[in-house]
């Protein structure tokens, strides 16, 4: 393990729940460290660091923060023992330790409450932690002891357990050393639950389940190593096994989903109606609602394969590419004011081109990573015009394509991961030999041409050791870099290899989230042992399928949309209403801004007019977020100034409500003389025909008898204006959640 010093530029993230420990840690250790260790030599890294971590001294809110606390700074979470030993023993002219009167040392007197301490009283003089520190000082506060074996791993026992409500269980954490010795470090490990309401954990590794159904991952960390315990809390009421055996199974996805439901005793919701399925697949695959005619066609179809036929038809529709490319543009497309307008346009075209020809995803990424050429000709080189430094490239490439967030490791060891600065800069070294010629970034215009090529110069240095780093993948094995070749070729091969599980999983998880409303891993680009999927077997199934189908994105979409799980109703039953992530029911999603706007244009029959776009262009075809649209701004498209990758906020806002209600532009669409409402009312259609048309185009369903009655009555009122009534009903339907949400 590399030991890394904290640089001043490091994160101010306030890690961990360490705050908890501050106020309440004096109480009992049932099992103090072995008494015989009194005489045993104490090693700073092996014995003292765990004490500092255990009492959260080196945590983000305390001495682990960027500038320390009151001048006393430790490395964040104790990844740099040299630095920490220095801080305790030597800094401030050694005033923190008194060898002549060890008990009076500041590092003991403050946390023991003998002297005022901002972090409060952390332990008493009878605490084993106090004794360890005291004995260490008495031994001369050594940095290390010769022959101290390296810590190799920690395990937690048990690794998983199914809990009753309010049941408790004790974890045992064992440290394994290089010399084959082990230690019980249960009382020295720190614990964190990713879902405390489901299962909480205290500082002694005691897990207490709550009364909420679900699974929690509990991390036990000790000296930079961690192990994960999975707590499952099923519903209390048993469900007969036949229930699960009898659930419909369209493909392997259903097997995986039902397995999890069975474990948690959740029941699946009923299947959704045909019209809900219809609306979902249109939104999900081509990014708009079906027209009234399209809806009629599907709803009257009696073929048993009609769902599959529809999915195939939509996947073959040119709008598919525009919709999915639009999502990818959020992840890749930069600010044109930074890289230049032509460059941005080329990049956008390149992304769309890949989806139009359904380029296999591994090839798409390979072409992007190995891009060379002119920014005026090759769209994919824009990545390298936008991100100019190896460290910037390492961060975006690992996050977008591998779901690995390396940002932390740039400045200090990642607190929840195995990556340190060595790993970060070795990975960044793959981008060391990118040559650039032509006009660089000259914000705010950056209009000129630049060439990206493989250079024979360039290196990445470790910011502290200044060592030149050799390219090394984050995990697994990569091909050797052949002389005279760009290291990016080896990187792209390693990244897109079928053996690279994170690669397929990250994309599979993105697609799953788009279609199902919630990622198997959230956030979608943060895959790590300490942030486990809610259904790991399912994520594997999806990723394996993706690899087997040669990274064909359309195949994965079809796989998911034809599963029974996809077509479940969103309406919860008594049993599964508490489920928000195991997919026992469909989760409602607010439609994406582009989907809403394109659908409104289709419904009202009045297209939007965008600057810098051809007439009748759709919102999903926009090549930059700089093209102004009050509607898309209200519906939280990414800020054009924000650097990719951009995740959108899907929560509704009052601004959206106000816009849908009162926007002048929308009002004009509804009341336009050239619009659908005008057209319908000019025709000889009956009132109920008009209503049917509105319901099919807005909700993708026929109106119920009651709805027909209520609405046609409005037309019969004295003095009723046929056109105004049509417009008003259109406005009313557009302003209901049944329109704004995918249900």
């Amino acid at each position: 393990m590399n030991v890394i010093r904290l640089t001043p530029a490091c994160c101010l993230l306030i890690f961990l729940v360490v705050g908890i420990v501050l106020s309440d840690c004096a109480n009992g250790f049932t099992e103090p460290i072995k008494k015989t260790s009194d005489e045993k030599p104490i090693d700073f890294e092996r014995d003292i660091q765990p004490v500092l971590s255990r009492f959260a001294c080196n945590s983000g809110p305390c001495h682990g923060k960027q500038r320390g606390q009151n001048g006393f700074q430790l490395s964040l979470l104790g990844f740099d023992s040299n630095f920490d030993h220095d801080a305790m023993v030597k800094q401030s002219r050694g005033r923190r330790i008194f060898f002549t009167r060890p008990e009076a040392s500041l590092i003991l007197a403050k946390p023991a409450g003998d002297l005022p301490h901002g972090g409060g009283v952390l332990f008493t003089q009878s605490d084993p932690g106090y004794h360890l520190l005291l004995r260490w000082i008495k031994q001369g506060a050594p940095r290390s002891q010769p022959g101290t074996p390296q810590l190799e791993r920690v395990t937690v026992d048990p690794q998983a357990k199914i809990f009753q409500h309010n049941e408790t269980a004790s974890l045992k954490v064992t440290a394994y050393y290089a010399d084959g010795s082990t230690r019980d470090v249960t009382n020295w490990a720190t614990y964190q639950s990713n879902e405390s309401p489901i299962a909480a954990v205290n500082e002694h590794g005691k897990v207490t389940a709550g009364t909420i159904t679900g699974e929690a991952a509990i991390m036990a960390r000790y000296s930079g190593h961690f192990a994960i315990f999975t707590a499952s809390v099923p519903l209390t009421k048993k469900v007969p096994a036949e229930y699960y055996a009898n659930l419909p199974r369209n493909n392997e996805i259903d097997d995986r989903v039902w397995e999890t439901l069975k474990k948690l005793r959740l029941r699946a919701s009923d299947p959704a109606t045909d019209h809900k399925f219809l609306r979902r697949v249109y939104i999900d695959i081509i990014g708009r609602l079906p027209t009234s005619d399209e809806a009629r066609e599907f709803l009257k179809d009696v073929s048993p394969q009609k769902r599959e036929h529809l999915v195939d038809k939509l996947l073959a529709d040119p709008e598919y590419a525009e919709h999915w490319a639009n999502k990818w543009a959020d992840l890749l497309r930069p600010n044109p004011y930074h890289v230049g307008i032509k460059t941005t346009l080329n990049y956008d075209r390149w992304i769309r081109g890949a989806f139009r020809k359904n380029q296999p995803y591994d090839e798409f990424v390979y072409d992007l990573i190995t891009a060379n050429g002119s920014t005026f000709r090759e769209g994919n080189v824009t990545l390298y015009r936008d991100r100019r430094k190896p460290d910037e490239l390492a961060t975006i490439v690992s996050q977008v394509f591998l779901g690995v967030r390396l940002e932390c490791a740039k400045c200090h060891h990642h607190p929840f991961e195995v990556y340190g600065q060595d790993d970060f800069y070795s990975f960044a070294a793959y981008f060391a030999k990118i040559g650039r010629k032509g006009t660089g970034i000259s914000a705010p215009i950056s209009g000129s041409e630049e060439f990206i090529f493989t250079s024979d110069k360039g290196s990445v240095k470790h910011p502290l050791t200044k060592a030149v780093m050799q390219p090394r993948p984050l995990y697994g094995e990569a091909e050797e870099i052949k002389p005279e070749t760009d290291p990016r070729v080896a990187l792209a091969q390693w990244m897109t290899s079928p053996k690279n599980h994170y690669f397929a999983q990250t994309m599979a998880n993105r697609i799953w989230k788009d279609l199902m409303g919630h990622g198997l891993v959230e956030p979608v680009d943060d895959l790590r042992a300490t942030n486990p999927p809610t259904n790991a077997a399912l994520l594997n199934t999806l990723a394996e399928y993706f690899v087997r189908e040669k990274f064909d994105v359309k195949k994965v979409i079809k796989f998911i949309t034809l599963s029974h799980a996809y077509s479940l109703s969103s309406i919860p039953n008594d049993n599964n209403k508490i489920d928000t992530r195991y997919f026992s029911r469909h989760y409602r999603q607010r439609l994406r801004g582009e989907v809403l706007l394109d659908s409104i244009c289709q419904i009202t029959g009045v297209p939007e007019s965008f600057t810098a776009m051809a007439p009748h262009s759709r919102a999903k075809e926009l090549w930059t977020h700089r093209i102004s649209s009050l509607f898309l701004d209200a519906y939280a498209r990414p800020d054009p100034n924000q650097d990719p990758p951009c995740e959108r906020i899907s929560e509704p806002t009052v601004v959206q409500t106000l816009h849908l209600m009162n926007s002048q532009q929308l009002a004009q669409k509804i009341t336009s003389d050239k619009g659908r409402a005008a057209e319908l009312t000019k025709s000889d259609a009956t009132a109920s025909k008009i209503i049917e048309e509105l319901y099919l185009s807005i909700y993708a369903r026929y109106p119920t008898k009651k709805e027909i009655k209520v609405t046609t009555d409005l037309f019969k009122k004295e003095g009723a204006d046929r056109r105004k009534i049509t417009e008003d009903i259109m406005w009313a339907l557009l302003n209901t959640p049944e329109f704004v949400y995918k249900d």
Binding site: P197, N641, P652, V654, M661, N662
Partner: protein
């Protein structure tokens, strides 16, 4: 996360004034202990509202509140210092009106930080937290909730009006970050100095009469048939929409709210005093919003990045600009609102001591001046000092954290509070929650 205190839940918490307690409810009780240990209310927590005037680009401290007449020519620049109403305190020559009301304002001359580019400097001053990764100059980043978004989160909306306004645009880091989109500022992009000015979407669209709108409303209520799942654990996102429609209907129907937007209804004399320009009328609109109960308004004023031609540019801009600010403060005072309204004027940093070849000053975060007035801020106060040549804050050196804590405390928000990201990760609202005691009254 089932009991996440974001979104709908948090909003309903606020309505019952239980934000803090429920906020911690999502995880260990111990967190609550920590939260409770840093007790909130401060005797001078009396600001009902805050008007934050953001000078985007980083205003020079030399030519505003911290002139250095004794420095050599290439540092002191072309402007002369002038005496203010406060004995011994001098401002730069183009702040004549502010100098004449210096007894109503306080100036901090000694804020210093280490973020010398726009993206990072904005983030630090606007949120009280430095960006957690190095960011570029052009960056618009949001790692931490802004002052305005956090205030909106704590206060909730009043009289149907959104709690946080930003005009004419949001500042780079003025967003809600992980608090969620409902705390994003309500942006009013229009120019209130224009005769056709109206705040979009808050009133019925042109040509739609109230009667017809009412009947649409009725239709909507009758036709809205999508079932709602009322059990909170089911996390139905549609529930919040109902609240927003109610809030939107209230806003349209509230005479108080609608009146607030009608800057045209203001007396011509008052409009003239504020200045017949976009900034002047925006400041006037801000005052009207404060009257209507809006807790946080940011005026994002571009064009303070004077890398060149600083002196001619400021000579032209400062007089109208300071006139608006002085008018705003006096107007608030005359209306008896100054005691409950905090006015803050600042940018991301100060500017370099040596005048560059283009006759401008570049970015300089070692020293900057911030102006504050109202909400119990003792007038005539100058906090801290830079050295003789204005290179660096040297006396009473303060941080953006101290600044943010001061603003929060005045608004009755505990800067030491722990807030949680949607992933449940705790973060201090402000890492150093010591306010600037001289300004706390």
């Amino acid at each position: 996360m089932f009991q996440n205190c974001d979104g709908i839940t948090r909003r309903s918490c606020l309505q019952f004034g239980m934000g803090a307690a429920l906020g911690a409810g999502l995880s260990d009780l111990m967190k609550l202990k920590v939260e409770a240990s840093t007790s909130p209310s401060h005797p001078s927590a009396r600001a009902k509202s805050c008007i934050l005037i953001w000078l985007d680009g980083g205003p020079t401290h030399y030519e505003t509140f911290d002139p250095k007449p004794d420095a050599p020519q290439e540092i002191r620049g072309e402007f002369y210092p002038i005496a203010t109403k406060t004995p011994g305190v001098h401002f730069s020559e183009h702040l004549k009106r502010l100098a004449s009301i210096s007894d109503k304002i306080a100036v901090i001359r000694s804020i210093k930080h280490n973020q010398g580019n726009h993206g990072a400097g904005n983030h630090y001053m606007m949120t009280g937290a430095p960006p957690r990764i190095p960011v570029g100059c052009g960056a618009f980043v949001s790692f931490h909730p802004s002052l305005g978004a956090m205030t909106a989160n704590e206060r909730g909306h009043q009289n149907g009006l959104p709690a946080y306004f930003s005009m004419p645009s949001m500042t780079r880091s003025g967003g809600p970050s992980f608090l969620g989109a409902q705390y994003a500022p309500f942006v009013v992009p229009g120019d209130p100095n224009s005769s056709s000015f109206r705040v979009r979407d808050v009133a019925l669209p042109k040509g739609l009469e109230q009667k017809r709108f009412d009947s649409r409303k009725e239709m909507r209520a009758a036709l809205d048939q999508l079932p709602r799942f009322r059990d909170k654990a089911s996390g139905d996102p549609v529930m919040v929409i109902d609240q927003y429609y109610q809030q939107s209907y209230d806003l349209i129907a509230s005479p108080k709210a609608q009146k607030a937007f009608q800057v045209q209804a203001e007396d011509d004399k008052v409009r003239d005093q504020y200045g017949r320009n976009s900034f002047g009328q925006r400041a006037l609109l801000a005052r009207r919003l404060v009257e209507a109960g809006v807790p946080f308004i940011t005026l994002n004023e571009a064009g303070w990045d004077h890398h060149g031609n600083l002196f001619p540019a400021l000579k032209k801009r400062l007089p109208t600009f300071e006139n608006t600010i002085a008018t705003l403060i006096e107007d608030l005072d005359e209306r008896g609102m100054l005691d409950e309204t905090l006015v803050v004027v600042l940018g991301e940093f100060g500017r370099t001591p040596k005048i560059n070849k283009g006759g401008g000053r570049d970015h300089w975060s070692n020293a900057m001046s911030v102006m504050m007035a109202g909400a119990g801020t003792p007038g005539g106060t100058v906090v801290g000092a830079t050295d003789r040549q204005g290179y660096s804050a040297v006396e009473r050196v303060l941080s953006p954290e101290n600044f943010a804590s001061t603003v929060y405390l005045k608004l009755g928000i505990n800067p030491g509070k722990i807030i949680y990201t949607p992933q449940g990760r705790p973060a201090h609202l402000v890492s150093d929650h010591t306010p600037i005691s001289e300004l706390m009254g």
